[in-house]
Amino acid sequence: MAARAIWKAVLRLGEASVPVKLYSAVEDRGVHFRLLHAEDRVPVEQKMVHPGTGEPVPYEETRRGWEAEPGTFVVLDDEDLAAAEPEASREVEITRFVPPETIDHRWYDRPYFLGPDGDATAYAALARALAASGREGVARWTMRKKSYLGALVPEDGRLALVTLRPAAEVISARELDAPSGRKLDERERKMARQLVAALAGDDDLSAFRDEYRDRVLELVAAKAEGKAAEVKPIRRRKASKGSLADVLEASLEQAKGGGKRRKSA
């Protein structure tokens, strides 16, 4: 099933341009509940109520305001809000191409796949050139009355655009000092490294599943059929007591044993 594009745009890098379509690369798989009135199991409606009068205020009559300090609001009218809106445009401007490691993980927000809009030649050529460059593009654009920053990244022969958070929203680790203390014991440090190495596995994370979601849906299905909910406990082992060196040693032994002895731990 082909998904629908959410937006059409033109990538512009210097003189060159590439018409593209944007597709959401993520899909919401969360379990969603409705809020019901317990008595009659009817979904409740949300109303915005004036706390003084207890009366709902119709949406058209509401205003927007920013609380400058507790109890003081600067009120904005439609004109003010319009003045703060970015100008509409179909252009995604690529301002620079940078080494990927200079983009902090924590800036990445939401990914979109890009597909060609019309003739695919320019798209395919840019995808290939970008992958070969080993770089990521820094992009800016305005979509649906909102300004975005993003990273243009190669994705398996295709192009993807990942929105980036404003830097001010990300707390820099450089502002923090790591916990310190007495020098770490060399033997413990070596064992800890060995343990990390012993537990190293496949980089592919697709085996990790949202089991909690599955369990919620199982519970829903059971209750829908009028069955009593049966809860299977998730088995996890307990951490053992002892000195850090002893625990590390036991952990290493267990990791080497292929995890078969986990039950006894």
Partner: protein, 330 residues
């Protein structure tokens, strides 16, 4: 200020009690919905059948079945689906740090040692950093399961929540043409784009470019109105009194994370497990904190601090002027 979550990371049989703090702060300016007289509105729930307001305790969660009926799920039932043990971050697999795909990345948190865990915390951080690995696990927090990568950077542990594989679409399924099908694009086109890319090479991203331009514009509008005293409404502060003013919050969060990292350093553990909670982050240390923080601040962040400190004329100041004004206040 309290941590977002407290729990245990286990790594082999070693357990590391930690507190988890958001590494992202809410950005922008949050606007409230007001009545025509400027009073902030409150969200209430109404039963359409009875036409009356329904208090929170009469509201339950329902899952809608295909036939329109609802299955009601009690909080206790949902709780029971996440037994104690699934709430720990059990690192059973380590992967190459560089192999983590940014498309899967969701949100970041800083981890600080809790209880007596500073030594185990430091060992785990050192081991992962030296091996170039990140630990991966799933855990349940507040009624939701998370896939999380634990990374170490300069001795500080960080948790990054990731999307599950089935939450990221397959481009084939979207109908995007398979990569490099057939003979591929003409070489001259690839060359043209390679040249265009080279033309725009830069050594790194410019943090100044990573600003929320919409919030900047909105702030200008707000400043102009506030300074002119136009459309400024005073209302009775809300009864609950605890409405968060979005901007002052930043410093509190930083101070709390710092205090919790420091607590571990001073005592080898945050005594009594209350490390992060004891330090409210408020009080007379604002100047000290500002002095610590000014090195790497964007204008945006400096502005937020200037607003908090009540620096007059801040809206027209350059970054250097803001720094000076804040320094003078300290």
């Amino acid at each position: 200020m309290r941590p977002f979550w407290s729990g245990t990371i286990s790594f082999g049989l070693v357990s590391v009690p930690v507190a988890l703090w958001p590494a992202n702060r809410s950005g922008g300016l949050s606007l409230r919905m007001l009545a025509p007289d400027g009073t902030p509105l409150e969200r209430r729930f109404v039963c359409p059948k009875e036409g009356r307001e329904v208090p929170r305790e009469e509201i339950v969660r329902g899952y809608e079945l295909d036939d329109g009926r609802y299955v009601v799920l009690e909080d206790e039932e949902l709780e029971a689906l996440a037994p104690e043990r699934s709430r720990d971050i059990d690192l059973r697999r380590f992967v190459d740090r560089d192999a983590l795909d940014p498309a899967f990345f969701r949100r970041a948190y800083f981890l600080t040692p809790a209880g007596d865990s500073a030594k185990a915390y430091r060992l785990l951080a050192a081991a992962m950093e030296e091996e170039g690995k990140a630990g991966v696990a799933t855990f349940v927090m507040r009624g939701k399961e998370y896939l999380v990568a634990i990374l170490a950077e300069d001795g500080i542990l960080r948790a990054e929540t990731l999307r599950f594989a089935d939450e990221v679409r397959d481009p084939e399924a979207i109908g995007l043409p398979a990569a490099d099908e057939g003979k591929g694009p003409p070489a001259k086109d690839v060359k043209r784009f390679a040249a265009a890319i080279r033309e725009l090479h830069a050594s790194g991203i410019d943090r100044a470019e990573l600003v929320d331009r919409d919030a900047e514009r909105l702030r200008e509008v707000l400043e102009a109105k506030a300074e002119a005293g136009e459309d400024v409404v005073e209302v009775e502060p809300a009864a609950e009194g605890g409405r968060v003013v979005p901007i002052g919050d930043h410093v509190d969060l930083m101070a709390a994370i710092k205090a919790s990292l420091e607590g571990a350093r001073a005592g080898g553990g945050g005594r009594g497990g209350g490390g992060p909670r004891r330090e409210s982050g408020k009080g007379g240390r604002a100047a000290e904190r500002l002095a610590d923080l000014t090195a790497d601040l964007t204008k945006d962040e400096l502005y937020a601090r200037a607003r908090e400190a009540g620096v007059p004329g801040r809206s027209g100041m350059t970054k250097a002027q803001l720094l000076r004004a804040l320094g003078a206040q300290g």
